[in-house]
Symmetry: C2
Subunit: 124 residues, 2 copies
DNA sequence: TGACAATACATCGAAAGCCGATATATTTGG
DNA sequence: CCAAATATATCGGCTTTCGATGTATTGTCA
């Protein structure tokens, strides 16, 4: 059973694992993508994301690899900007499916409380 | 429009207003009903519910009336057990609809992230 | 009849979670 | 050259959470 309802963190975990299930991304990119996808309905800020990412990694739900991007102008001489790419693990995918299941369970209960009034002629 | 994702409290508010939208109930009864309906997926305890109920009342989303239940055995002589019945207000119903809308918006976004495939293998 | 479980309402405080502010560094655009 | 964007990260004050606890009445069962 989907564990008890827990704080926002669970929703955020779901969303982050969700976007990473499609393709590897780095933090800043995750923020932009989630904002765009949700039309800013989901507020995922750096102060929330990075600690979450670190937790997720500690729990081995994701792994990370550094990339150094050098500018064309500066070339080899520059230190380069660093990006940390995150990849979802098999364990992470299992967790994601759990979260999705849990979320859908909650959702179906909500819908059980409040059946969408598509057809009001539906007999009981 | 559904504001940013907020803590668990919002989900609980949704659930509580939801059960009260069907009929008036008293606290203890709300706890039992939500547990039963959600098959214990939603953990709504006394320590969480009563403060929430008081907030909801302060916000005029619900109103309350006391009932004194006397035991048949003891009859008039007993002090009686007290029950506080809660009723949803018109304002409460409006709030409920807002919450449902917000929840569905979040839900549909989740489903956009993860379109429910007929069947898929979790292999790799 | 006595004891224990269930009913019923309620508060409190430790712990956890949230998120804006802040820090550092590089690259891009004007 | 400078401001804005890119990119990662931490910190601390504030809010939220919920288990523990308190009080009281009623129901059950030996």
């Amino acid at each position: 059973m989907p564990g008890p309802v827990k704080p926002q963190r669970e929703s955020l975990e779901l969303v982050v694992l969700g976007v990473l299930s499609e393709e590897p991304l780095y933090g800043y990119c995750i923020i932009k993508r989630v904002a765009a996808r949700s039309e800013h309905a989901i507020r995922l800020t750096a102060g929330v994301l990075y600690p979450l990412l670190h937790e997720l990694e500690a729990a081995r739900l994701i792994t990370s690899t550094w990339e150094t991007v050098r500018s064309e102008r500066a070339g080899e001489s520059s230190a380069g900007r660093k990006r940390k790419w995150y990849h979802i693990t098999a364990r992470g995918r299992r967790r994601l499916h759990q979260r999705i299941t849990a979320h859908r369970a909650f959702q179906s209960m909500i819908e059980a409380f409040f059946p969408p009034p598509a057809d009001e002629e539906a007999a009981t």
